[in-house]
Amino acid sequence: MQVTLKIERYNPESDESRQETFTVDVVEEATLLDVLDVIKDEVDGSLTYRKSCRMAVCGSCGMRMDGAAVLACKTPMRPVVEAGEVPVISPMGNLPVLKDLVVDMEPFWAKFRAIKPYLDDGGEEPPVKEWRIQQEELDRVMTEALCIQCGCCVSECNSMEADPDFLGPAALAKAARFVNDVRDRGGKSRLEIYNGPHGVWDCTRCYFCNQRCPKGVHPRDAIAKVGAAIYQEGMHSDGGARHAKVFVKSTHQTGYLLETHLVPETVGAVNAIKEIPFALRLARAGKVPNPLKPHKAKKLDEVRKLNKLIESQEQATLEAANAGPTRPPADPAQAKESE
């Protein structure tokens, strides 16, 4: 099978960028990584990219194909060839390019370090050698534990494009992995890190991370889990959490979004005053519903009761989670018996 690729090249010594077209013959089963290997072996030895495991485990070979981040070793080329396409291969986005398809992962690792990517057991001694947890407790963090740190989710993260300091999907998915680990005792101090100005509330929910992740980590869903932990801990200092609070309150009071509450309750009354000219413009177009006569959903009592009922169930779950891992008995003989 003949494959043609247009590859974005960058030479840091001369600071030159160009696009080069390569055509090579490869086996039918060839992945994008195989094609790059053939080009490097047979055509241009200076072509630079990262690889190691060749089996979607090490996370080295993230790059873009037609603007979408993929693992080169997990991308079969046959469908592309059959569709008659000549894809553009370029380095991942949101990270500085070092050479050709290689990006500098340092900013990515710095964000990992920032989220405290290790278990904080609060210095407590485990009762028997180690903290033992139940299968269901492990299941709560398994999805996020699948991450191979390839960076594909970061590549197209829309919030990171606009705010390069945003902790981003990979680091925050790792955060969720610890937040939901029953052995972790980080509690509020851990959550404070994620509640910061470049934390969870920076995420714009573009869902590029879920779309791109080659390991099914669903980072956006992980971020929501961290957001939920922050919110349900009662940490409502951030505009993002206050925004969510208006929504919860709205469903309770009228069943519909209380739009007029969003601005003052998210940005604060003082900042809201600055928004008055803007609000007047909206009002003139008929975009501001009358706050004194809110539109109310029918059968609202159902929703109100539902809110209260679920809230009590949530509290029970939260308390159970905060109680920590199912501690095995301290006496090893007893432990043996219970096994």
Binding site: D66, G67, N158, S159, E161, A162, D163, W201, D202, T204, R205, C206, Y207, F208, N210, Q211, H218, R220, I223, A224, K225, G227, A228, Y231, Q232, D238, G239, G240, A241, A244, K245, F247, V248, T251, G255, Y256, L257, E259, T266, V267, F278, R281, L282, A285, G286, K287, P289, H295, A297, K299, L300, D301, E302, V303, K305, L306, N307, L309, I310, E311
Partner: protein
């Protein structure tokens, strides 16, 4: 396309984005779709309740789906990206897990709400008219082709991604809006950010980040020569339209780009008037384009 749907306008189209609800009802008539109102529907909770109170979100959406079922409808039609993802995600979860469905139904029953058996499909208006007989019908009703009008399609995020839950088309190379623009006799304009985010979910909590996101599609569409932009989402619309002035000041560029709701685009091609489609409710004045459409200037 079905002949009847349980119709879920969502709360924004019932409140500040009323023109979308009105236009949708108007084109449904032309298309021969019966929209059955869901009495007692509420907000789907958007990404916010979904994030802060995932269990409550799940129940709110199960309740809406149950109400649709109670009306004897097997398809619920949405007109908002965020509602679409929210409802489809809840639906997929409930359909895949009978135990969960049972638990949710127990709670619904306890508060006196309709239960849900899992038998409703959630579809966005866009999908119903972008292919098959819906598309044929659209071509038939588009008797006033918008000749010479250049329209930039803006998809927004939550109608495309994650495709595991939405899955109507290739999330990186969508074509549904382009096809609809063509059926309306206008010319689609291509630009890279048409699949990116408008920043709406964080426009209040992180204004600067959101404006940074909003500027991109506006600037690119303008650069590509668009007369107007069309979006299938009232939240995208709110940020592209109402926040356009702020984006314009931030970027120091004049955008002056009228933003159409999908239903307004279809309505205009179907001969519905400026007033019927309530273009006057927009913040960015629509008449530079609507004059071109209605008076051929």
């Amino acid at each position: 396309m079905k002949s009847s749907y349980a119709y879920y306008p969502g709360c924004l189209a019932s409140l500040s984005q009323k023109e979308l609800d009105t236009s949708t009802r108007a084109i449904a008539d032309k298309l021969g779709m019966t929209l059955v109102d869901i009495p007692g529907f509420t907000c789907c909770g958007a990404g916010d309740v979904h994030e802060a109170r995932p269990e409550y979100y799940l129940h709110l959406n199960a309740r809406i789906l149950g109400q649709a079922e109670q009306l004897g409808q097997d398809t619920l039609m949405t007109i908002c990206n965020v509602c679409t993802l929210n409802l489809r995600q809840a639906n997929a979860k409930l359909q895949a897990d009978p135990e969960l469905l049972q638990r949710v139904n127990r709670n619904l029953k306890e508060v006196g709400a309709a239960s849900y058996s899992g038998g409703v499909d959630v579809r966005h208006l866009l999908w119903e008219i972008a292919e098959g007989d819906g598309y044929e019908k659209l071509k038939q009703i588009a008797e006033k082709p918008l000749t010479g009008v250049k329209i930039a399609p803006f998809y927004g995020c939550q109608i495309l991604r994650p495709s595991r839950l939405l899955g109507f088309e290739d999330p990186d190379r969508p074509q549904s809006l382009e096809r609809i623009i063509e059926a309306c006799g206008a010319e689609p304009v291509d630009y890279p950010s048409k699949i990116k985010c408008c920043g709406f979910p964080i426009v209040l909590a992180r204004a600067e980040v959101a404006l940074g996101e909003l500027i991109q599609p506006l600037a690119e569409a303008k650069e590509a020569g668009a007369d107007a932009m069309v979006t299938p989402c009232p939240l995208c619309h709110l940020s592209l339209d109402a926040w356009q002035g702020k984006a314009s000041r931030e970027a120091d560029m004049e955008f002056d780009l009228p933003i159409f709701h999908l239903a307004q685009l279809v309505g205009a091609a179907a001969g519905l008037s400026y007033d019927e489609l309530q273009f006057k409710r927009h913040i960015v004045k629509a008449y530079p384009v609507t004059d071109k459409i209605y008076q051929g200037v």
